[in-house]
């Protein structure tokens, strides 16, 4: 992993020195050992802030739309899943390809930092991280730790469609094999099997916890509306009250608004402070899109048209 970090810094430095880009968005060490934070680097000296490893959960493609109208070019570090966002943003005309330099890094799964942190002696500092395939070794000044991926991976990483970026200008690190620890739609299927009452009880419980902090919406790389319907005051489509009815309206609208565009990066699920399994809503849509329209995961290829955005005579016609 050290050589990936080294190469990453070299390439970023080169891009900035040669003035190919004005800004590099990447991962930097966070304030916890097992955590990274987005960093924005605008000078060659700053590249030493860049890091890489199994604690780079954020989808940095999100930030590209912030610089949509800014002058200059931007380089962004993306994992496989994040790179699907790039394709999607390109297809939505949210960013222009010639303004973005995509630094792709093949990824072998991201760990849940809270779980890892709980195991490591507080205050320890990181020495090295080594990927052993099915586990990750974390070496610190307070001892070495080993984390089995099947127990410590972020939930979304247990199934990974694209460990390697699907679009990139330069790739750093060696290609990673596809590795799945469970069946992609197992949880959705389990929910589908439940009775109406059980489904209702399950989701009511989840939605009633919602604080409406909108982290799920704000972190979403394909939520690109200038003004969101939930921020509108006049008319107030959904009020500020946080009750089950309004929360359900919010979550269904959010999930359905990204139907056919959601790239399944799982960020909504990760950031929810109340642990609402938001991805189970999006995954249901992914599953149905696959079943009904044989549609691949959005963003896996450039130029994919969402089945909900076009008409084909072969479409299923359940409503005729």
């Amino acid at each position: 992993m050290m050589d990936v970090i080294q190469q990453l810094r070299e390439q970023a430095k080169k891009l900035l020195e040669e003035k190919k880009v004005d800004l590099v968005i990447g991962f930097g060490q966070g304030t916890e050992l097992a955590r990274t934070t987005p960093v924005f680097i605008d000078s060659p000296e700053g590249v030493s802030k860049l890091t890489w490893g199994p604690f780079c959960a954020n989808n940095l493609a999100k930030y590209l739309t912030d610089y949509k109208n800014a002058p200059g070019n931007i380089a962004v570090v993306v994992k496989g899943c994040d790179s699907r966002s790039i394709n999607r943003l390109l297809d939505d005309n949210q960013i222009s390809r010639d303004k973005v330099v995509i630094i792709g890094v093949p990824c072998s799964g991201q760990l849940e930092w809270q779980k890892v942190s709980a195991e490591i002696k507080p205050g320890a500092s990181l020495k090295e991280v080594v990927d052993n395939g099915d586990s990750v070794s974390v070496k610190t000044d307070a001892g070495d730790y080993k984390f089995d991926k099947k127990d410590y991976l972020l939930h979304r990483c247990l199934v990974c469609e694209n460990p390697n970026p699907v679009v990139s200008d330069l790739t750093i690190g060696k290609e990673q094999p596809v590795k799945n620890y469970e069946d992609r739609f197992a949880e959705v299927q389990a929910l589908e099997q439940m009775s109406t009452e059980e489904k209702n009880a399950y989701w009511d419980k989840q939605f009633s916890r919602c604080l409406r902090c909108y982290a799920c919406r704000n972190v979403c790389s394909v939520c690109t509306c200038q003004t969101c319907v939930f921020d509108q005051m006049l008319p107030m489509w959904v009020s500020k009250r946080t009750n089950l009815s309004e929360n359900t309206a919010f979550h269904l609208t959010r999930a359905f608004h990204v139907a056919g565009r959601c790239v399944d990066c799982g960020e909504c699920d990760r950031v929810c402070p109340m642990d609402i399994p938001l991805r189970k809503l999006n995954q249901k849509i992914h599953k149905d899109l696959g079943d009904l329209f044989e549609s691949p995961t959005p963003g896996t290829k450039p130029g994919l048209v969402s089945p909900l955005g076009e008409f084909s005579p072969g479409d299923p016609e359940e409503f005729m």
Binding site: R35, V39, L211, M274, D275
Partner: protein, 347 residues
């Protein structure tokens, strides 16, 4: 100050009694979350937890609150306020969260303006605190004037020691409660436990790993509203969600609006609001004095470490570490404080 002892075996009995006599709010486990909820007895109450995911501030400032309902009949306007508040016991609040309630008091019970919705709840609630038994990597209450076994603000403070709870009676309210359940609260062995508690407090205070020091930070902010620091990475990486403000035990901003239930009837509600949202400061004419995330972030952190001090001589942060833990992009108030100290060197 008086003190008492409760055997661990009797804590369920106490909780059951409290649930019967009061509206009992206590920490519970809901799936992966630790939350404060109303409980009907000891069976749901979680006694062994680090800190709740959301603070119990909702006991005094609920996320949604009906202030009154209105009905216009054509020539008269009828206003109905909700019925009086119930006697409540808030059980198991951690010292940092209790300290946070103290930061609410001058805001809602100020000399000039009192808030009856808040003060009614505050008056009728007995706070039973629970000392921490563990320091988390995100904790830094010591730097904000608190401590893992600090009973300030609580009516009773329980500290777990061996198979007993050491109980400090801090107020008259607490005394009344102890007297009402005198068969559970004994005074036997309290002296020894008081010493044990001191030991525990000392041990825990040595376990903090976050180095935070507020000295000089307010001073640099006092004369420097426009620090280039605020243009930095924090403003760039913030995604503008309300997580930090909603999980924060000291954030108390709210919005008031009418919710019509008919043409001439409706409710006036008060709901939590967040200064991280763009609409928070959006004016009717379309102007927004805090147009970008830079201004909004600056406001939030200035409020914590300057404005609250200016107004009430209290730090607006209690060091619970929730925002540090939950921020999706790892914006960390302890880092900001340390960065500002560095900035202070060069101003």
């Amino acid at each position: 100050m008086e003190s008492r002892v409760v055997n661990k075996g009797q804590i369920s009995e106490l909780l059951d009694k409290l649930a019967k006599d009061y509206n009992l709010i206590a920490p519970i486990k809901e799936e992966t979350m630790t939350l404060f909820r109303r409980v009907s007895g000891a069976q749901d109450v979680l006694l062994d937890y680090n800190n709740s995911d959301i603070s119990p501030k909702g006991c005094f400032l609920p996320q949604n609150e009906k202030t009154f309902s209105y009905m216009y009949t054509g020539d008269t306007l009828e206003i109905n306020k909700p019925e009086g508040v119930q006697k409540t016991v808030l059980f198991g609040a951690r010292p940092c969260d209790i300290k946070a309630i103290l930061t609410f008091d001058p805001v809602f019970e100020g000399v000039k303006f009192g808030d009856e919705y808040y003060s009614n709840k505050r008056k009728s609630t007995v706070i039973i605190g629970l000392s921490c038994s563990k320091v988390l990597s995100t904790c830094f209450c010591y730097a904000m004037g608190g401590g893992p076994c600090d009973g300030t603000g609580s009516d009773l403070l329980l500290t777990e020691i061996g198979d007993k709870y050491y109980v400090e009676v801090n107020t008259e309210k607490g005394k009344a409660l102890v007297d009402a359940y005198s068969q559970i609260f004994s005074s036997q062995g309290a002296e020894q436990l008081a010493k044990d508690k001191e030991e525990l407090a000392k041990k825990l205070s040595g376990e903090f790993v976050r180095k935070v020091d507020l000295t000089g930070v307010k001073e640099v902010l006092d004369g420097n509203f426009e620090l280039p620091y605020w243009d930095g990475d924090n403003a760039k990486k913030c995604i503008g969600c309300g997580t930090c403000t909603y999980v924060c035990p000291t954030c108390h901003c709210f919005d008031i609006f009418d919710y019509p239930t008919g043409d001439f009837t409706g409710d006036r509600l008060r709901c939590w609001d967040s200064c991280m949202f763009p609409e928070y400061t959006l004016e009717a004419g379309g102007h927004n004095p805090r147009p970008t995330r830079k201004e909004r972030i600056r406001n939030r952190f200035m409020h914590k470490i300057k404005y609250h001090l200016d107004r009430y001589n209290m730090v607006g942060c209690v060091g619970c570490g929730r925002c540090v833990n939950k921020c999706p992009v790892n914006i960390d108030i302890t880092k900001i404080i340390n960065d500002l100290k560095e900035v202070a060197q060069n101003v």
